[in-house]
């Protein structure tokens, strides 16, 4: 069981609040479809709160309403939190405001590009391998609900683009 320690409490040089500790746990939970991203990078953790009753509350939002990864993520989060001592954490589904790719963090966007997936953009999609702007949409839907399929006309490599939502 976690003993809540007030952040900044005198004498606790390394004091960590349960909320901060939970964020650290969540930052290590990978997205099941794009494991280079954590669910925090993806922007689907909407809040972490410590309730007056002494429970941890975590708000999760689905990316696409039909994304099959949503339930896997819920299980991984519950498991990771339980392993860290938050066995009675309450997971809440948040659908408003709806998830947007704008919530993917700057670190998340860098990780996507390094992994070979072009990060979401409303401008011309650049090839994540050679950086060329000479790219073409092959299919508006890809291997997961959040991706579209592209091809680079310069280096001829096919790649995924994280759709803008």
């Amino acid at each position: 069981m976690v003993t809540p320690v007030i952040d900044g409490d005198a004498g606790h040089t390394f004091a960590v609040t349960p909320v901060r500790q939970a964020w650290q746990v969540l930052e290590a939970v990978p997205d099941p479809e794009i494991p280079v991203l954590s669910i925090v990078d993806l922007g689907i953790v909407r809040f972490v709160r410590w309730s007056d009753e002494g429970h941890l509350h975590v708000g999760l939002t689905p990316t696409y309403s039909g994304c099959p990864a949503t339930e896997v993520i819920r299980h991984s989060v519950a498991q990771a939190l339980a392993d860290a001592g938050f066995a009675d954490a309450v997971l809440e589904e948040v659908i408003s405001p709806p998830w947007t790719t704008d919530w993917i963090t700057a670190a998340g966007r860098r990780k996507l590009a390094a992994f070979g997936i072009a990060p979401p953009t409303t401008r011309q999609v650049a090839c994540p391998r050679c950086g060329s702007q000479e790219t073409q949409c092959i299919s508006e839907f890809g291997s997961t609900p959040c991706k579209a399929h592209y091809r680079c006309n310069a280096c001829l490599e096919p790649f995924d683009h994280f759709k803008c939502l």
Partner: protein
């Protein structure tokens, strides 16, 4: 009021569920891998929207029915999806015509429902609208490509449009449930959505070199539980597992 809201959520939820099942029939059969993925992804989005709506419907009803009970343990007359959604896939063009007609309607409906006085319905609509806009881009793009394509593709999508158009009147024809909910601002006044939808329809048809069929006041009542013969067959397949092994989980 809660009985009306239950009914409305069921109608919109069922329309999404039935359409998702129809689209799912394409998986492994579409003309190209990209289109297979596209139709499968559309199905997933509609299924996700159906889950949000049916879960809420079950809570409003208060009889302990969850999304699964509503999806798998009701018979055809208890389904209240739009008649258009249950129409068989036919060829790829016909599926895309059905999709485009529904996408356009959903774009108007979800857009207006964002302002619903029911905050949960407004939230579901805002989430779904983002997905619907993408669907519309896909289906309208295909309609233009097929309509303004070969003689064969043009003839096929025009034929599908002529055949399916009769079911569109139901989308904008309110009954007493819709009217009572519109009075209290839970849902928009349905006939008011028709104009925006029709303008978008005409714009795409023009580019697709297709003709809008004459309007038809045919009384389809899918949303009142009166269905074409196709729904029962579809449900027979969709519900088979839960009917044969009640409560099965995996």
């Amino acid at each position: 009021m809660s009985e009306d809201l239950f009914r409305f959520l069921l109608r919109l939820g069922d329309t999404n569920l039935v359409l998702a099942q129809r689209l799912g029939e394409w998986v492994g059969h579409a003309p190209a891998l990209e289109e297979d993925l596209g139709l499968g992804n559309l199905a997933l989005d509609h299924l996700g929207q159906a889950r949000l709506l049916l879960t809420y419907a079950g809570e409003v009803e208060g009889q302990g029915r969850d999304e699964d009970a509503l999806a798998f343990l009701r018979d055809a007359p208890e389904f209240c999806n739009l008649t258009l959604a249950e129409q068989p896939n036919g060829d790829f063009g016909r599926t895309l015509v059905r999709q485009w007609l529904i996408d356009g309607w959903q774009r108007e409906l979800y857009g207006a429902l964002q302002g619903s006085t029911d905050s949960r319905l407004a939230a579901i609509a805002a989430k779904s609208l983002k997905e619907t806009r993408y669907h519309y881009r896909f289906s309208a793009g295909w309609l233009i490509r097929l309509g303004d394509g070969t003689q064969e593709s043009h003839a096929r999508v025009q034929g599908a449009l002529d055949e399916l158009w009769r079911f569109t009147d139901e989308m904008f024809s309110p009954d007493e449930v819709d009217n009572r909910l519109a009075e209290v601002g839970v849902v928009p006044h349905l006939p008011a959505l028709r104009e925006g939808w029709l303008a978008a329809v005409d714009e795409v048809l023009k580019e697709a070199t297709l003709k809008r069929p004459a309007s038809m006041k045919y009384p389809w009542h899918g949303k009142k539980g009166v269905h074409t013969e196709h729904l029962g067959h579809m449900l027979g397949e969709m519900q088979h597992l839960q009917r044969t092994y009640p409560g099965a989980q995996w």
